[in-house]
């Protein structure tokens, strides 16, 4: 029993059965038991028809099984239930990315990040899509904003450094990579990229002297 600030009893547990089924579906998905997971999501959807969660779960199964049509259908159902569901936008983006429709994937990742700027999967997806498309400017802004909130996230910092490097912003790339190595001294990828950036800086005196 929980009392609200007004002293009245607050009802708890109205979504408990849904939560158990959704959690169970997620567990079985992670364990690769997709049939049981699907069954759980379907039962969860009956309990909470307006909740996008079970549809997202089915979408993830589609992605895991390589069934992009099933995944797309499920993520779109999730968005029908709740157009602001960031996970569904990210899922849809992954479907497009798998289909090598990078421009669509890019847009979907952006929609996800507008709703949830901390969605790491979307950030990294956006990074990959942008590499495929050769466009960096919008992505860099998102990564920088994310790092302002999560300064210790080495994986995102490394992505940002590689985008700086590809965009020719070598001094910023060098700073970012040094920060990555301070966090993860064993990171071979960061060390290799730092070597490359420093070689390019040495070969380009104008760049090297830019503040």
């Amino acid at each position: 029993m929980r009392l609200g600030s007004d002293g009245f009893v607050v009802e708890e547990g109205l979504d408990q059965h849904y939560e158990v089924l959704k959690e169970l579906g997620d567990c079985h998905t992670a364990l690769g038991h997709f049939d049981r997971a699907r069954q759980c999501y379907e039962e969860a959807a009956l309990l909470a028809p307006d909740n996008p969660g079970p549809h997202v779960g089915r979408g993830v199964i589609g992605l895991e099984c390589g069934s992009m049509d099933e995944a797309e259908r499920a993520f779109r159902e999730a968005l029908d239930a709740d157009a602001a569901c960031a996970e569904a936008w990210a899922g849809l983006a992954m479907v497009f990315q798998q289909r090598r429709q990078f421009s669509d994937a890019f847009e979907m990742y952006m929609k996800c990040l507008q709703r949830d700027p901390d969605n790491l999967a979307a950030l990294l997806g956006l990074f990959q899509a942008s590499r495929q498309m050769g466009t960096f400017a919008r992505v860099i802004g998102y990564l920088e904003a994310y790092l302002d909130r999560h300064p210790g996230d080495a994986s995102v910092l490394f992505c940002l450094a590689s985008l700086y490097a590809r965009d020719g912003r070598l001094r910023e790339a060098e700073d970012a990579l040094q920060a990555v190595l301070a966090l993860l001294p064993e990171s071979g990828d960061a060390a290799a990229l730092l070597d490359e950036v420093r070689r390019r800086l040495a070969a380009s005196p104008a760049e090297a002297h830019r503040p």
Binding site: G13, E23, L24, C27
Partner: protein, 528 residues
Amino acid sequence: MTATPSHRGPLVTVLVPTFNRRRYLAEALRSLAGQTYANFEAVVVNDGGEPVADVVAALADPRFTLIERRDNRGKAASLNEGLARARGSYVAYLDDDDLYYPAHLAALLDALQAGGGCGAAYTDLYKVHCRVRPDGSRQVLGKIVNVSRDFDRFLICHFNHVLHVSLMHRRDLLDRTGPYNERLRVLVDWDMTRRLAFFTDFRHVPRVTGEYYAPVGPSDRLSYRQRLQRQAYLEQVLAVRTTRPAKPWPKMPDLAIILLAGRMDARAAGVLRQALLWTFMPYRVYLPLAAEDASRLRTDAPVVAVAPVAAGAGRAECLDAALGAADADFAAVVPPGVAPGLLWVEDALHAAVTSGAADRTAFLIRCAAGAPPWADADWPPVVLRLDALRRARAAAAGAPLAHALRAAGIAVRPPCDGERALQFDRLLQQAQAMEAEGNWAQAAWRYERLRARWANHRWMDERAARALFRAGGRDRQALELVRRLNRAQPTVDTLLLEAKLLRRGGAGDEAAALLERAEQILSGKALP
């Protein structure tokens, strides 16, 4: 494995009042028929609803008796009619839309026969939130243990934390409490549990042994519909709170509130109203009044008594007149000059009841906030033992109260925090406020402290584990706590919490097994 039913032991009478719930009644009765403790008689009382004879007959069980009544007279009348037929040494209750798990009666009987002098025992129940489909079937949304509260005599006078379906008590206690109050339309159960608390202690068995159903949205329950009529509901609340069974009360303190009004004016009427509204423990208000003022008194409250005094009598005479009439364990002296705002005697009463030095201490009553606590230093508003007050009056006859108390060696002080009534609930609310603000670690610490000081072990452990889980970085501690709970008896909530912790720790397969078990409980395929 199904336990073999036990036919040995005392006879238990289970009362099953029913009204227009044929659909659920069959399931309720089957849950009773399947008890591991078999020596019971069930008295089903149809309170003028649709016929249920076929439902009872379908059980083909001679332990079940049906009383069919054509007129609808309410739950209290049904229970009284059932009790008139009862032969058992113990009485238990089952509502027509609720369920017992197979060991329900056995668990209660074990608790009652374990010694310690408890004449009543109760278990925990799942509150089953459900959506009722058009065909009447129930879609389960959650099964939670909404109330798992150790017995608290002060609390039972405020709030019914003993669900009737979870209760079993000695039948002979009803000779002391009297029958169910048939004038009540709601709170029938609370009225009886409160009255039982005058005569016995209750033993709490923190184990889930059944289910009661709570449909979402507007309910067909009488209690729900009646609560919508606020004024009528409050009158019923007051009727319960002012019920005083015949004395002696071996377990309940009685309080005499001595209102030294002087004149029966608007101010005195305001203070009297506050006393009636805000006193939850059993009490009687004694009003020392001259005949002229007594004639101006307008109240039908059964707990107000006039102590006649001569016109122009002083405070000391008024107090002595009230003392002459009062029959109680404790006295609350409310002098004139108390503002007719909040008058909260419960903290001082609780301090007096629980203090080891009640003979030598008078506890100050909390009066309206912001106003001086009392107008006259010679006449402090206090609660103390009635015999101590009489001793003080004898020590300094005719003197103001403060002088008399001093003369009798009785100290006057406010109750400290730990002595106040419902302190557990106050601290619990603070912990919940911490949760609402996201201070999970602090809330967990508070739950641990509450557990250490006020028991309610299972409930507090569960809240602490949940808070530790939300706090982050304390998963090991949370897991230890919730595992202990699940070893004792898993509930849906504790299984879900352990699963979340395991999943976060990377043990997905173990988490899935726990969640499957939770799902089985929710779908009725397994018992907790």
